[in-house]
């Protein structure tokens, strides 16, 4: 403990070597200097010292400003009657009118509920699959079988959604492989890909196919970090496999499970945008319209920039609240959450 805290100032001390020797004259007299604290230099001398580092940050900062922070500010058009030829400066401000219109719009309400419905499906059925797969893989004794299965299971994560949907169409589509077989056997083809009622199932199956194997990695790592002697001790005390799983494995995985749930919840209103855009034509807007597709078709395709932005902003705000709430909840249960409460 002591040795690590004392090492902390070593770096800045040494960094000052090539710099001007008067660097710390301004900020920190010996009286102010606390034992574990980096000696304070004046802002200007630190600026001079880190000149090149700051220069290095420039491309990244420029990116963040241009494609992240300024677009975030661009959300103000949700409160305007935005006209492209007038621009943000000259468009009329309309206050909350866009939101009022939005919540009176049955299409938006439909997209909103549909998003929640699909999100619930994903949370309930998608989340446990990687966990179960990881438990099975972790229980395998043969390294070779593990390796082979992992290589196969990770692969689809790197395929684009376009490819994934293409694969599903070839397998399950109206003229696809399975339906061809069914016809050969004299049965009626099943409209897997175009039936709006089973669409939520299809969406979840596609997501499992693409990402369940990949999501396994993090569980596997957590499983590997559980102390093996715990299992041995429990077994010696007579705990069977299920008791060991309940009392050792699952508590050991709890922090990861909580963390992944929070990340998932923050992302949950996005449900799977590309997936829906790609299949909206096949199953119809009734089943595949979600907040993101609504934003896209209203704003970019339909030219309703302000209502699109308002829908997007509403979604963003709800997501942010969800992340915040989930993180708070995790802290309450004594977990670290996304960010530990105290920054070291």
């Amino acid at each position: 403990m002591n040795s690590t805290t004392e090492q902390a100032p070593a770096l800045p001390e040494a960094r000052r070597v090539p710099g001007p020797p008067g660097g710390n004259a301004a900020g920190s007299g010996p009286k102010k200097r606390k034992r574990n604290k980096v000696p304070q230099q004046s802002f200007r001398s630190r600026l001079r010292r880190d000149k090149q580092m700051l220069l290095m940050m420039l491309p990244g900062v420029a990116f963040l400003l241009l494609f992240f922070y300024i677009p975030i500010l661009g959300n103000v058009i949700a409160f305007q009657d935005y006209q492209p030829y007038l621009g943000i400066g000259d468009s009329l401000w309309v206050g909350w009118q866009n939101f009022v219109d939005l919540f009176g719009n049955p299409d938006f309400i439909h997209a909103f509920w549909n998003t929640l419905y699909l999100a619930a499906w994903q949370l309930v059925f998608l989340f446990p699959v990687p966990l179960v797969l990881a438990l099975i893989v972790d229980s395998l004794i043969s390294t070779r079988v593990r390796r082979i299965f992992q290589s196969i299971a990770y692969l689809p994560h790197f395929l684009s959604w376009v490819l994934v949907i293409a694969f599903f169409q070839q397998m399950l589509g109206g003229a696809g492989f399975v339906n061809n077989l069914l016809r050969d056997w004299g049965m009626d083809p099943i409209p897997f890909m175009t039936n709006p009622e089973t669409f939520p199932v299809m969406v979840v199956v596609q997501m499992i196919w693409k990402d369940a194997g990949w999501a396994m990695i993090i569980f596997l790592a957590a499983l590997a970090s559980i102390d093996a002697s715990l299992y041995e001790a429990a077994a010696a005390d007579g705990a069977g496999r299920w008791r060991r799983m309940w009392h050792i494995t699952l508590p050991g995985l709890r922090p990861v499970i909580v963390l992944l749930l929070i990340l998932r919840i923050g992302d949950i209103l996005s449900v799977g945008f590309e997936q829906f855009i790609l299949q909206r034509d096949a199953v119809g807007a009734g089943a595949a319209e979600v907040l993101d597709t609504f934003t896209y078709y209203t704003g970019v395709v339909g030219g309703g920039w302000s209502s699109g932005a308002a829908a997007g902003l509403a979604k963003g705000v709800v997501s942010a609240l969800l992340i915040y709430g989930a993180n708070k909840l995790a802290h309450r249960f004594g977990e670290d959450g996304i960010f530990a409460k105290q920054v070291r």
């Binding site: 580092m53 990244g60 661009g74 058009i77 490819l163 790592a221 922090p255 932005a309």
Partner: protein
């Protein structure tokens, strides 16, 4: 983040082939259930890939006989591939995708490496500022404002609109930064005392030590650029600038008259032509996958733990 998670030294991932003495021998039922789950999952992934590749290689006679799909080409032929490369569209969009991927990956690596290195050493701003910035990156600015930004910059219908929005990824940044933070400070200090400036240190000391992580992050970016389709749908109208994913979407997923759009007259059945385009988009990923797989698990775990 969840630092308590991995404080114990991880047990080796490669297993001891011998079963621990205390572990009971699994019953036949468990063994069967496990085997079935793993085999079904693996087959569900491998079958579509095999089906698509085989169908693209199958000749007309076999395809017609089998009713459109084959699991194994009896007389493999490259006819479908010859046909799609005769028309201009596939070659063009492959060119676009390769260009975007190459330029994008190089730019992305530059931006990510410089940013990660600069923030990994003590600089003007402390850790709280960086954490706060990372936190904001959890949220997306939204579709419409991003679109308006690209339009404002005059990038619509320009390949830059496919490149620039993807040159910085929060996840890759975190992985890179946590790797740089583990490089011993003494190395950097000694170089500084020898008179190297920060750029020289980055280029001569830090980057040679980080080849593995740079390769992984670069591959992640490359896969991302190759796979991205929505940016093209948003920003690109000009058919000659379509990347391969958009082409794929438009005449495989939406199935709109493949042959017409490719500008070719079709002799092999449309099925194998469609499949050939799928394979063309798939092969680059399959080629880099072994490299990816070798390193990614480690990268993902570092990123997730140190975030």
């Amino acid at each position: 983040m969840a630092t308590t998670l991995f404080t114990k030294k991880p047990r080796e991932l490669s297993y001891n082939p011998k079963r621990p003495v205390w572990k009971e021998k699994p019953s036949a039922l468990y063994q069967t259930v496990k085997a079935v789950v793993l085999i079904v999952f693996s087959l569900s992934i491998l079958t579509p890939i095999l089906l698509v590749v085989s169908t693209s290689l199958a000749d007309t006679e076999q395809l017609v006989k089998a009713g459109g799909f084959v699991l194994w080409p009896e007389r493999p032929t490259l006819e479908a591939y010859v046909t799609i490369f005769k028309g201009p569209m596939v070659l063009q969009s492959l060119g676009v995708s390769m260009l975007v991927t190459a330029v994008g990956t190089i730019l992305a690596l530059f931006v990510t490496i410089t940013m990660a290195y600069a923030t990994s050493r003590t600089v003007l701003f402390g850790r709280p500022v960086i954490l706060a910035v990372l936190f904001t990156l959890l949220f997306a600015p939204g579709l419409i404002p991003s679109f308006l930004m690209i339009r404002q910059l005059g990038l619509l219908d320009s390949l830059w609109s496919l490149i620039l929005p993807g040159i910085f990824g929060a996840f890759n940044f975190v992985v890179m930064r946590s790797f740089f933070m583990n490089i011993p400070g003494e190395l950097i200090e000694s170089a500084r005392i020898d008179g190297a400036n920060d750029w020289q240190i980055l280029w001569r000391i830090v980057m040679p030590l980080s080849k593995a992580v740079i390769a992984v992050v670069g591959l992640f970016y490359a896969v991302g650029f190759w796979n991205s389709f929505f940016n093209a749908l948003l920003y690109i109208n000009d058919h000659s600038k379509w990347p391969i994913q958009l082409l794929l979407r438009n005449f495989v997923v939406q199935g709109s008259g493949a042959a017409d759009q490719l500008g070719i007259t079709t002799t092999p059945p449309p099925q194998s032509i469609q499949m050939a385009v799928v394979v063309v988009a798939l092969v680059p990923i399959l080629m880099v996958y072994p490299f990816l797989q070798k390193h990614f698990a480690k990268g993902v775990i570092t990123g997730a733990v140190k975030g």
